[in-house]
Amino acid sequence: MYALVALISGLVFGLGLAFSEMTNPAVVLGFLDIFGDWNPSLMIVMASAIAVGMIGYTIKNKRIKPLLADDWQIPSLRHIDKKLIIGSGLFGIGWGLSGYCPGPGLTALTNNPSEGFYFITALILGSAIYQLQNRISH
């Protein structure tokens, strides 16, 4: 059951990225280019995704537990630290360089294979560097 839900969720999410053209880094770069020829269409994507998400949280708050799990696993961290700011800042620089964030980078493996290959290989390496660094410091 979990497996089918996971596959369908991924499929719908991917279709969402495709419809909003977030799969195309040129569209994403146009959205980020607010001082140039700005393409605001991704504002609509963000707004409609967040609106639906807010309805989801309202429903969640009226339920005792998830449909297929024993309890909610929502992050409870609230403090804003250096890791959050530096990490997000670095992510934004990477996103602005290519126009790929993780989801569209993965879909590029089929839409634009050579770009997807370089980007995702490096992304995995970046994640592995973090993993290693974290293991050494603990």
């Binding site: 053209e21 140039g36 963000m46 799990a69 959050l84 670095l90 992510f91």
Partner: protein, 132 residues
């Protein structure tokens, strides 16, 4: 009309996935987090299936939708590699990406996610302004 309808439908689908994931599994949907599960935990099947679905669904681009902008080509591998390293490392350190912080986090008004989203939007906008 497509220029409004397509992003509207796209956003709805993304929001619906996040909502379904929340109500079914009780978790926050984030692509960087799911990728981390696949790479560095023992629970590999579920994230793998999700990401396969994502790649198939996102690969429907151009067959299902009208492309308004051409895909970039001839970009330097070095640019893509530096970008991938920063995205891979940064999303781990910052604990999320556009989906986890940007969509899910803002939906539940998490202060950390709001700060994270403002930060990566700002550095991405500056990067585009400087490199264009």
């Amino acid at each position: 009309m497509d220029s409004i309808l397509n992003p509207l439908v796209g956003g709805l689908l993304i929001g619906l996935t996040a909502t379904a994931y929340l109500l079914i599994k009780g978790k926050i949907l984030g692509i960087s987090g799911i990728l981390t599960q696949l790479l560095f935990t023992r629970k590999r099947w579920i994230p793998l299936l999700f990401l396969i679905g994502l790649i198939i669904g996102g690969g429907a681009y151009g067959t299902l939708t009208n492309q308004t902008v051409a895909f970039p080509d001839d970009r330097s591998p070095l640019l893509l590699i530096i970008s991938g390293l920063l995205v891979g490392y940064g999303t781990r350190l910052g604990g999320g990406c556009t989906s986890g912080h940007g969509v899910c986090g803002i939906s539940r008004l998490s202060p950390r996610s709001i700060v994270a989203t403002l930060t990566f939007m700002l550095t991405a906008i500056i990067t585009v302004a400087l490199t264009k």
